[in-house]
């Protein structure tokens, strides 16, 4: 099993921390992981993105040129990474922020109304967790428990009260995939 995921969006959308959570959860499961941020000029304006590899084997290149999954949080990210996705790959979008659809027939297109779901949970900031919930459920690369454990570790004692709402967000994402509440191509 090897997942090569690119998460991309505007700076400040939590792209880096989403990737970090997955890398941490992967490490806790004893998998080989790498986390590589884009830190170049593309971070200003355009897209900020992070490449996360989660693998049963040692990670060779942490640079991803053919992602197995993409999570796109804005239109420019969608346009940049959708064509790079491998055949049979998963393309998740926050459909409240990305208003384009994939025309590719050979991938799974999974538009998730993550902002809307997060707003219903009264915390717009957990939109990323909805997407991560969908991602781990669709790809089965990590268990929900490890993602939660990672979250507890990242939030720390001070923000412990936020665990509940984050967990609900993950569950909402999981639910979407399990009940197939999304469009597929």
């Amino acid at each position: 099993m090897k997942q090569e995921l690119i998460i991309a969006g505007f700076g400040g959308q939590g792209v880096m921390s989403m990737g970090q959570l997955l890398a941490y959860a992967g490490m806790k499961e004893g998998k080989h992981v790498s986390w590589l941020p884009s830190y170049g000029p593309e971070q200003r304006g355009g897209t900020a993105n992070v490449s996360v590899v989660i693998s049963d084997k040692e990670v060779g290149s942490p640079v991803i040129d053919k992602p197995t999954s993409v999570i796109a949080l804005n239109n420019p990210s969608f346009e940049k990474f959708e064509p790079m996705l491998i055949e049979g790959g998963d393309l998740f979008t926050n459909s409240n922020l990305v208003d384009i659809s994939s025309k590719r027939e050979d991938i799974y297109f999974l538009p998730v109304p993550a902002t809307e779901i997060a707003k219903n949970l009264k915390m717009e900031r957990v939109a990323g967790m909805v997407l991560l919930g969908a991602f781990i459920t669709k790809t089965k690369v990590l268990s929900k428990d490890s993602l939660l454990e990672a979250l507890i570790n990242v939030l720390g004692e001070k923000k412990k009260h936020l665990i509940g709402v984050n967990e609900e967000a993950i569950l909402a994402g999981e639910n979407l995939i399990e009940k197939k509440l999304f469009l597929t191509k």
Partner: protein, 355 residues
């Protein structure tokens, strides 16, 4: 201690502290600023000293001072800032002072950009500053190896009284991977630094640390001593990783970041039945000439891949001495070669030889 997820730059900092380095002088520059920030936070916690200097030139000369006092000391920068330290590194080499200098290299020349690059190879392996000297150069390819090589760098520095360079690039500095720190690391207590200028308390002659010698005969003697030391380092401190080289028809020589990408390309080629091996120099100086020379007798071709316009390939060709063809593939300007690009170069090797 268990595994922790850390950024490469932070791993260098923590590894240095584990190796008994409690003094750090530096100036921030992307993509290594996290290392400076980490030391600023961590060193006061462990009773060490962090000082942000007003420039790179100043930082390297503070290193000279701390090293003269016999303490394990480090500074770090990225390419343009590293260039500014060259005068100081030459002085450290001349005065035979142990210190570790980190270069988290970025695209050049000039200010270039902040993306990963290996185009400082010539500078780090051929001296870099003025005068006849070399610095041992260690080039990790992953974050766990950073820990091992940082410790090694301090050990080599003390053992041979020489500045040592740890060479990474923006990718290694910025990426995160799980790492594990060994509780028992050599911290330099076993090195008797009787040359350190810590005060004689009226007992014996003053100790002098200088790279100045106006007497030509004496300066030549010093040069002979340095050269003898460099031969010893060449004999004892050459480090290389060799993978699937026996039975190989082709071999890739690559170091650091590029070696791990090359490794992925090699796996792909091997699945297609192409017999490719990897030689990864870990010490760039001393360069692993012998294994490359020996291997070149038995392979059809050697490919060198770098994030440069072709620098290490010159050392590869010197080692091969025409025993096999050596080709080169490189990307510059901060662009990282992809697995596919390297794979295509491997396919070209096959065509070139059989046609």
């Amino acid at each position: 201690m268990g595994k922790v997820l850390m950024k490469g730059n932070e791993v260098i900092g923590e590894a240095a502290i584990h190796a008994g380095c409690y003094y750090f002088f530096g100036y921030p520059i992307t993509p290594q600023s996290e290392l400076v920030a980490y030391m600023a936070k961590r060193l006061p916690e462990v009773g060490g000293l962090f000082l942000q200097s007003e420039s790179e030139v100043s930082a390297i000369n503070m290193v000279y001072g701390a090293a003269s006092a016999g303490k394990r000391v480090m500074t770090s920068s990225s390419s343009p800032g590293f260039s500014l330290k060259q005068e100081g590194i030459s002085y450290l080499a001349g005065a035979e002072l142990p210190a570790v200098i980190v270069n988290v290299a970025r695209g050049g020349p000039g200010l270039g950009n902040i993306q990963p690059s290996q185009s400082d190879y010539f500078q780090v392996t051929k001296g870099g500053g003025h005068g006849d000297y070399h610095t041992p150069v260690l080039a990790p390819a992953n974050l766990q190896e950073i820990i091992e090589l940082t410790s090694d760098a301090f050990r080599i520095a003390d053992q041979y009284r020489t500045p040592v360079i740890l060479l990474g690039d923006g990718m290694l500095g910025q990426m995160m991977e799980p790492v594990e720190f060994n509780e028992k690391t050599e911290t330099g207590d076993n090195f008797m630094k009787d040359w350190a200028t810590t005060g004689t308390e009226g007992d014996g002659l003053p100790k002098v640390i200088t790279s100045l010698d106006l007497n030509d005969v004496k300066l030549e003697q010093r040069n002979h001593r340095l050269q003898a030391k460099y031969r010893k380092i060449e004999n004892n401190e050459t480090k290389v990783e060799v993978k699937n080289v026996e039975e190989a028809d082709y071999v890739i020589v690559a170091y650091g970041t590029v070696a791990r990408i090359a490794h992925s390309a090699i796996e792909k080629a091997r699945q297609d039945g192409i017999k490719v091996g990897l030689i990864r120099p870990i010490s760039l100086w001393p360069f692993p000439k012998k294994i490359i020379s020996d291997t070149s007798k038995n392979v059809k071709a050697i490919l060198t891949v770098e994030m440069s316009a072709g620098q290490m390939v010159e050392d590869v060709r010197l080692a091969v001495e025409g025993k096999s063809p050596v080709s080169f593939y490189g990307r510059t300007g901060g662009i990282i070669p992809t697995v596919d690009e390297i794979y295509r170069e491997i396919l070209k090797l096959g065509k070139g030889v059989t046609s």
